[in-house]
Symmetry: C2
Amino acid sequence: MTTANAERKPGHPHRVVVVGGGFGGLLAVRGLRRAPVEVTLVDRNNYHLFQPLLYQVATGALAPGEIASPLRGILKRQDNARVVLAAVSEIDVERRRVLLDRSANEDQDIELEYDTLVVAAGASHAYFGHDEWQPLAPGMKTIEDAIEIRGRILTAFEAAELESDPERRQAWLTFVVVGAGPTGVEMAGQIAEIANDTLPRDFANVDPRSARILLIEAADRVLTSFPERLSARAFRSIERLGVTPVLDRSVVDLDDHSVTIQATDGERDERSGGEPSGRDTISAHTIIWAAGVRASGLAAALGEATGAAVDRAGRVSVGPDLTLPGHPELFAIGDMVEVHDADGRPQHLPGVAPTAMQEGRYVAKVIAGRLDGAEPEPFRYVDKGNVATIGRLKAVMDIKGVRLSGTIAWLGYLFIHLFYLIGLENRVLVFIRWIVSFVTRGRGSRLITGRRAEVGDRTPT
Amino acid sequence: MTTANAERKPGHPHRVVVVGGGFGGLLAVRGLRRAPVEVTLVDRNNYHLFQPLLYQVATGALAPGEIASPLRGILKRQDNARVVLAAVSEIDVERRRVLLDRSANEDQDIELEYDTLVVAAGASHAYFGHDEWQPLAPGMKTIEDAIEIRGRILTAFEAAELESDPERRQAWLTFVVVGAGPTGVEMAGQIAEIANDTLPRDFANVDPRSARILLIEAADRVLTSFPERLSARAFRSIERLGVTPVLDRSVVDLDDHSVTIQATDGERDERSGGEPSGRDTISAHTIIWAAGVRASGLAAALGEATGAAVDRAGRVSVGPDLTLPGHPELFAIGDMVEVHDADGRPQHLPGVAPTAMQEGRYVAKVIAGRLDGAEPEPFRYVDKGNVATIGRLKAVMDIKGVRLSGTIAWLGYLFIHLFYLIGLENRVLVFIRWIVSFVTRGRGSRLITGRRAEVGDRTPT
């Protein structure tokens, strides 16, 4: 058993370990750059991923490396920070140690001792009790996910091109996106643009414009986190792009060539009039999951170790200072937590990058302040607004009550995302890609790589 | 059994099928753009790969998409060409059909009928009878290979960072490149630059500059395809970069933590003086194979079907018009063939992009000419020269007897490679990457993705 930071000199500075290099974790590390502490950032990947643009990788508009920055590069000039590439296997709250899973280093289990721990391990997909759907309907949280989805979308057009049976061909040309939150809407809009703008001249036997793109949503409107008026605008915009939004419907079954939906709620079903009621099975080979998230397993582990409540989405409850009950040295932030105010009421903060970033910055301030003997103010979330893009020149934006849609919202979306993207080189490259895509309606990064390089890999029944 | 192009109108135009979208195949298709023919390009990947820059992807300097262009995009405006994404399972020379392997399209086997066939299926690595070495010492022919090697190199530094045993740490910091042709030299030089220029400030416990980079070559000099004087220059340049070239040594054994070499030839062994003679086992986790190539299996299949000779590297013999004996309708070109002149003497053309491109262009001219009743001139290879880069501002170049090394050769190398890269967008992006890398000594695409994302995946003994 080795303790990787045990060799430090006695009377060591305050040791902070941060788990997770997403928005929350990274901002916590950066916020401590002038504090008299020693920071260790642990992540299972060697890069920070700009998740909000992952859907553009999945649709070939951007390359994976353009939205990912190596953590060591980002923190190169922060002398009090170091990076460890490893998965966390366990947190020992009593002994204040983080156990790392690194079988590459042979029989050595490696532990990191901490004085303060910040856990920012994020969330992955929730399949609502149907984990067997995951390989059939991949979600979009990692670079590997995005490359897989990109391969499936492009492969579907290739398979349709060589399919002579019209019914089977239509199944290859049917794309189902489950969940009409920002990711689902963006994804469906991008698939429509691929079919209608990028590919039309590419195929000999198939007209990509005949693709059907269904956007399935259990609620009665798209983009439920936006005001109703913007939801309605987004609905019309996305319909005009060629997407068919299907509201009030939940997925009840799926396999590798079809998805079965049914009315979310019997009452609503009658209201929807002409739409098919009850069950409906759609033949489709490409199904993309954008319906729900589930907190990292570390949230439940922290709940168990500290007695904090864990909700149905797997999120652990933290107090107004973002610490776990009885453990002022133990912070948890971002998509894996539910923040409660001083009266114990859940805050229901949105699971978006700005929330995690504000929490990361806050935690850094609390840690640095404590070393000066300061008492922390409770965390206050500042709503920076909400923006989602639908397609070319189309987006919706809701910033402190100012509600915009159309070109201005779309430019705002692009600007905000470029601004938060880390690294000047990536900003320049993404900017060029966007300009080229806009002018040519092409997509520069349309590769089928990895296991999906050969169509034959996917055997439908 | 469906014949994908059987539905065409009777009295169809002359049907050309081209297998392989590399330099040779693509130039053959492009060369037929004004000919009264119907061209079908078959490739198992949906992109053309610019293999000469693959080593820059493997070392994080470029992103995969920047050196790959979708075939459908390239041929979008060529109305007489279509693209089929599939692997070729068999060529039926007698019935003039190409059989495709596409299990995605269910029980349908798909065949392509041809009047003329051009096979340009390239080559992969040769492990000289040790195919079991492939997973231990990956070569570099595909995007997947390059991403795998990139992950191994970066993971090795990460593993060293957490390794407390000095001997084991050194094994993680030892990189062995097998084969000192252009790819091996470029690769070794790039690893040296990563260790010395890109990473030094990135790690807390490890100094990347202590990395050992060995370049093993069975012959008595590096870059044997260049004149001796340039080989000697390249040797000195690469040594100065921090690479240790080990000449006159062959790999006789390897596993996942070591490589065993021995003197290629007993006589030479004595000459090498102070160097360890006989067997020598080096502890190293990262071994990269750049030692030999083997023609696509389609070469041997064509040899069997037509009676053409197949050499030890698996290449099939073609005549001076690049056709197989007795089959004027059947061309084979590029890395999978050995071209013979009218007197049956092998031409020993270099296995580089310009050779394949000239052959592709020639074949297109012959096919178009025949439709006008013209007799083809035999193929004449024009030596465009040879260039290899070693590192920052260092390259060697041999163009029609003009031998250059240093900065001018290096600029020539960059210019030539940008010029032959397909697609304006990729040219601009690669140009920006190169400028940024040159100024910052950084590498923009340093991601560990795919199966290698977690260090724990690789379990050394």
